[in-house]
Point group: C2
Chain length 453, copies 2
């Protein structure tokens, strides 16, 4: 049988055991388990190439696996096949402080990288919250709290090594800061969700740790004034490092989850990076906007441990909201709109959720126009689940009507495939043509990203 040949090569680093398969067939969201037929743990690029040559020869599906933190079921295996788990390719290969870049294997997590960088005065800025792997973050074009300042994975991946469906190994990009030599293959593989090839090495741009960092938390009487403060801040050009919105339902969930005692009203969580003088100047300008919008006094966190507590709380927003509704069937949403449309998008969404009468806390990376309504219908109520799915569809339609996108950062996976035609129109067929060119047998993460035959 086709799988047995891989067992012969990989020995204990290959498994068809039920528990290994089940662990690699689950997601952090509501999708049913879809397990691969086998899991393999390669240690080198050449081993990945060997797996892909074998799977091409036998037309076996191949699904990459990082940390399993996707919310859209990117790594589920609806057609079975071989899951390639990168957890043994987890070395930082080099750090070049003079060029502010690092070369890493795909299984390195962002926290592990930042741990290794601590002594260099540099950090990797992209912060999706979860401790995802850098390979997974590149494959899904992740972003998060700091994208408003430092960009998404699109801006922070300089070069890649990729193994194609047929086992060919290619390198994209270079270590130079820019290039104009040919098609931007790096950008093509970033966000391709493992449907064009498997990333086996990444060259990442690093940032200097800012001389001064100040973070803070500010309460608003209502959502409208909080969102108005965000819009005014972005339009005024203050170079925010982070500007996050959390609604009253989220604050309640945080208070229950983390034992905090925040006022249960909408809040903004912000962070400033720069020289001490620049941070002071930014914080003053922002404070002026907050006062104009009727926001409350700021609680500042200048000590690193206080800031870490603040952002840990924000990062656990998803888990806190789920813990508040343990019997929920979580439907995640992730729209992103032009900043001028943010108030309209958030307010319409909040009104729809209130009318539907199901829990739906709203939080998000509002400096980018990106927010999440986490819809939490009761798992045992088909009616609530149907309402949640209708709300998610309405949100997607709203995003497109307002010139935005159905997924700012969570990607497509299993969850958003149904919106690709609406968002991209005839460009979706172009994606299909590119897929067919690089993966003619359709073995790379099948069932995702492109129209199914």
């Amino acid at each position: 049988m086709a799988l047995d040949a891989l067992r012969d090569v990989f020995g204990p680093r290959f498994s068809t055991g039920a528990s290994d398969r089940a662990l690699h067939g689950r997601s952090e969201s509501h999708f049913p388990e879809m397990a691969p037929d086998a899991v393999v743990w390669p240690e080198t690029t050449q081993e990945v190439a060997q797996i892909l040559r074998h799977c091409s020869a036998h037309r076996l599906p191949v699904i990459g696996w990082g940390a399993g933190t996707s919310l859209e079921g990117h790594a589920l295996a609806p057609h079975g096949g071989v899951c390639v788990d990168f957890s043994r390719m987890n070395r930082v290969l080099s750090v070049v402080p003079e060029d502010m870049l690092a070369v890493v294997q795909p299984g390195v997590t962002r926290e592990a990288l930042n741990g290794e960088l601590r002594a260099t005065g540099l950090f990797f800025p992209v912060d999706p919250g979860a401790n995802a792997t850098l390979g997974g973050m590149a494959a899904t074009r992740a972003s998060g709290t700091t994208a408003v300042r430092y960009g998404t994975m699109r801006a922070n991946v300089l070069a890649l090594e990729v193994v194609l469906a047929d086992g060919r190994v290619i390198r994209t990009g270079s270590q130079a800061p820019k290039s104009s030599t040919g098609y931007d293959l790096t950008a093509l593989f970033v966000g391709a969700e493992g449907t064009l090839g498997l990333i086996t090495e990444l060259t990442l741009r690093l940032q200097g740790q800012p001389e001064a960092v100040t973070a803070g938390l500010c309460a608003f009487a209502d959502m409208t004034s909080a969102v108005a403060a965000v819009i005014a801040t972005i339009q005024s050009g203050i170079p925010m490092a982070r500007i996050e919105f959390i609604d009253a339902a989220n604050v309640r969930a945080f208070n229950a989850w983390a034992g905090t005692s925040m006022d249960e009203t909408p809040h903004l969580m912000v962070e400033f990076h720069g020289s001490p003088a620049a941070v002071r100047e930014q914080a003053e300008a922002f404070g002026g906007i907050v006062a104009d919008m009727g926001g409350g006094a700021f609680q500042w966190s200048e000590r690193a441990e206080d800031r870490n507590r603040l952002w840990k709380m924000r990062h656990e927003g998803y888990y806190a909201a789920r813990a508040a509704h343990p019997n929920a069937f979580p439907v995640t949403t992730d729209i992103c709109v032009p900043i001028s449309k943010l108030a309209e998008a958030v307010e319409e969404t909040a009104r729809d959720i209130a009318q539907a009468g199901i829990p739906g806390p709203i939080l998000g990376h509002v400096g980018d126009g990106n927010f999440h309504a986490l819809l939490l219908p009761d798992r045992d109520s088909p009616e609530q689940i149907a309402k949640a799915k209708a709300l998610a569809s309405a949100l997607a339609e709203r995003a497109l009507r307002l010139g935005g996108t159905v997924s700012g950062e969570h990607g497509i996976g299993m969850g958003k495939l149904g919106y690709m035609q609406a968002e991209h129109g005839s460009a979706w067929a172009v994606m299909g043509a590119l897929k067919a060119a690089l993966d003619p047998l359709g073995i790379m993460n099948p069932g995702k990203m492109v129209r199914q035959e």
Copy 2:
């Protein structure tokens, strides 16, 4: 005949006249004239689609034309065909200050756009020097003096409308600041040099005009200390808006061209953007580095007209150098290396040029690790021309050996095609597969970018 049908449709906006063909068969560099068979001036996306359907049906080559300022012969027509001149698609369609974006037709020049933006407090930052069209800048992934701060066209194009080879019209991207929905088609068409489709509309990111701007000029005793100052500046994280190097030969050419009286030694030209306090802080930090490296006193230009004169001089560097050697056969080079390798790259290059004994002024966007040696052999000396071509090859090999790229911003066109295999290895064949998927008949700018059959 196939061309006559286009004449019937476009009337006076179609020409097979010798002078129109010759004007669209020339470049700003040393390439011989390669004229198209006809030139057409469409006014709408639908007209572009009509041209492409017609050219597909008759297998006629199609070459896009912006302002003709390419240095690598991107728009030459080695296989003849139809040149699509975008000069009549030159409208700014909308400016949305709240979202800091503009939607433009491809024939708008960067100076025209910035003229229209003046009253909004916004500007479009990418500045290649020449007054290129925005369509051409996107197609060639242009950058220039400000990329060190604001990025290249890759970072500043948010969405596109593109007409494919078969006449299909697609839209890529959205007006949201980020998205994770599918393959990054915007990035694929930016830099594709018209070989995958023709860009008919661009959505561009704008920047706020900085509150304060200061520019300056500083002399160094030698190239080594000037380059060392650049490296230290970039590594220290000062957010330079511009940092340009010009060597002594360039200064001599400027003095002759512009009637200036600068010391004929290497110089840096810099600019700072920010709040008044931030600009002061940056300039002080930079001044400290210059002093450490033995640089001379700074001549500051705080008035807009002085700054404009400074950057006009820089932008005319190419013309000034050519004017100093009117009988030259100009061979342009454009390597880009990691900043840690910049000193090695510049010094080896200067030494080789000196040994070859032909004029070769060096200048460049050194904050990005990008510099140009403009090789100026005598047009009537086959021996000098051969030496210049050997120097250009050695430069390209040097760039690759140092982890860089053969073209930081000038692109591939006719001039750098011979280096694609060396730079991209097996990834070049992947580019060929993408080209075949989107342009199966090979009518889009044939003879460029991919391996010829």
